[in-house]
């Protein structure tokens, strides 16, 4: 799915524009816990989150995530915007809740990463 399609499906709005809208994103994921992103996030995925602090962008940087969607129309503080500009990360905002944002994208064909197992740290 292209970033453009992600925005369309979510009736989203670009807050920080760092990518060609025709670029492809391979999958999606959602988390409000940054360690979850670091553990289960995969390179290149679109991250849906309700957290808007600068650490969200930092976490995306470390996990190799380049597109972040803020759900429930949350507006990030200026520090978050500035950091995303700096790090080349695209920020999008959508009026949908986390549940619905994910549902709409999944429905439109954007896959997730499948089953994960966390017993004995071997996920």
């Amino acid at each position: 799915m292209t970033i453009r399609e992600v925005i369309e499906v979510l009736s989203g709005q670009i807050l920080v524009d760092n990518h060609e809208l025709d670029n492809d994103v391979p999958m999606g994921g959602a988390a409000d816990l940054m360690s979850d992103v670091l553990a289960f996030g995969t390179e290149g995925m679109v991250l849906m989150t309700g957290l808007t602090n600068p650490q969200t962008v930092r976490t995306a940087e470390m996990a190799g995530i380049e597109v972040v969607v803020f759900v429930r129309d949350k507006t990030p503080p200026p520090e978050t915007i500035a950091l995303a500009r700096d790090l080349g990360i695209t920020l999008i905002r959508t009026g949908y809740t986390m549940y619905e944002a994910c549902g709409r994208l999944y429905n439109a064909g954007l896959p997730g990463r499948g089953l994960v197992k966390i017993e004995n740290n071997s996920w």
Binding site: D32, L33, M34, S35, D36, L38, A39, T42, E43, T49, L51, N53, P54, Q55, T56, R58, T59, E61, M62, A63, G64, E79, L87, R113, I118, N121, S122, W123
Partner: protein, 320 residues
């Protein structure tokens, strides 16, 4: 232009396919049109030539030069088929831009219709469309990436240029407690440095995730901050995060995913899921946690760098 950019242009000319630089909204002329009609069409669409198409078949090509000739001769009422060029030189959409460029200038054509394997018209290239497309490829973001590549090229050579029995590059970062504005800066700097040093991306990512978790632990769980030291050698990276904070009572328990003593306000910030140390353990090839109540904490992690990129273990990013 620097030498680097010139090679980049050359590379683009060799590697870019005609398909990506052609104009796709081709204005075509019907064989039933007169030269006068063609003239008006060209002026209106601001083009200097057009293929003449009978249905799906290209029967010729007409250019502004042809139009000017018949204008002088007063023959604007003639059908286009009488003045068009019938032998049309075309180019396959999979050809390189290099081939298009050499056809354009060596053979004196101003434009080349682009066709697919079945000979169907799919676009047109002129010198103008190609220059515009190449310039687009050379845009700012692209140049940024190149500059980054050049820097990393220089840094990467440190292990060959500097002669010793065992060269190592050491990076030190001081991490302040509870400073959430700067939290993550060390991990970010380490990530960039390793990229420049030419460490393969899958390992850079593992190091970045592990160091970021370690850095956040210094920020969140200590009252004095700590120091992160990264020792990069040609075959491995050793990192330690040391603090003189409260220490850990049970170093086995804290490794369990989900165990956390982080307060509520830390959780509200998205941290304190209790996955940090487990995450670090998973990313690193070797991990050691030394701590006791009141005696601070020392985390040692190590990453093995193999030239074949396997890193001596399953690549974490391939497990996805």
């Amino acid at each position: 232009m620097t030498t680097q950019e010139i090679t980049k242009v050359q590379e683009l000319i060799y590697t870019t396919r005609v398909e990506t630089v052609m104009a796709t909204n081709v204005v075509v002329v019907d064989p039933s049109m007169t030269m006068g009609e063609v003239k008006r069409l060209m002026q209106e669409k601001r083009i200097s030539g057009a293929p003449v198409m009978r249905g799906d078949t290209m029967v010729g090509i007409v250019s502004m030069t042809d139009v000017l000739d018949v204008t002088e001769q007063g023959l604007l009422g003639d059908p286009v088929t009488r003045h068009m060029t019938r032998e049309v030189k075309t180019i396959l959409k999979d050809s390189s831009v290099l081939e298009a460029v050499s056809n354009l200038d060596r053979q004196g054509f101003a434009r080349l219709p682009v066709v697919d394997q079945n000979g169907r018209l799919v676009g047109i290239v002129t010198t103008g469309t190609m220059i515009r497309a190449l310039l687009r490829e050379m845009d700012i973001s692209f140049q940024k990436k190149e500059a980054e590549k050049l820097q990393s090229y220089r840094a990467r050579h440190i292990f060959q240029d500097i002669v010793s029995d065992d060269t190592s590059v050491i990076l030190r970062f001081v991490v302040a407690e509870k400073d959430f504005d700067n939290a993550g800066k060390a991990a970010s700097a380490i990530k960039k440095s390793l990229q420049r040093l030419g460490v393969i991306p899958s390992i850079v990512r593992r190091v970045a995730v592990a160091v970021y978790e370690a850095e956040m632990n210094l920020v969140i769980h200590t009252d004095v901050g700590g120091v992160i030291t990264v020792d990069v050698r040609s075959r491995r990276i050793k990192i330690n995060a040391v603090d003189h904070g409260p220490g850990i009572e049970d170093v086995v328990k804290v490794l369990q995913p989900g165990y956390s003593t982080a307060p509520e306000w830390i959780r509200d910030m998205g941290f304190g899921a209790g996955m940090g140390l487990a995450n670090i353990k998973r990313c690193a090839d070797v991990m050691k946690l030394l701590s006791g109540p009141g005696s601070g904490t020392r985390l040692d992690i190590e990453f093995l760098l193999d030239n074949d990129g396997s890193g001596g273990r399953m690549d974490a990013s391939k497990k996805t």
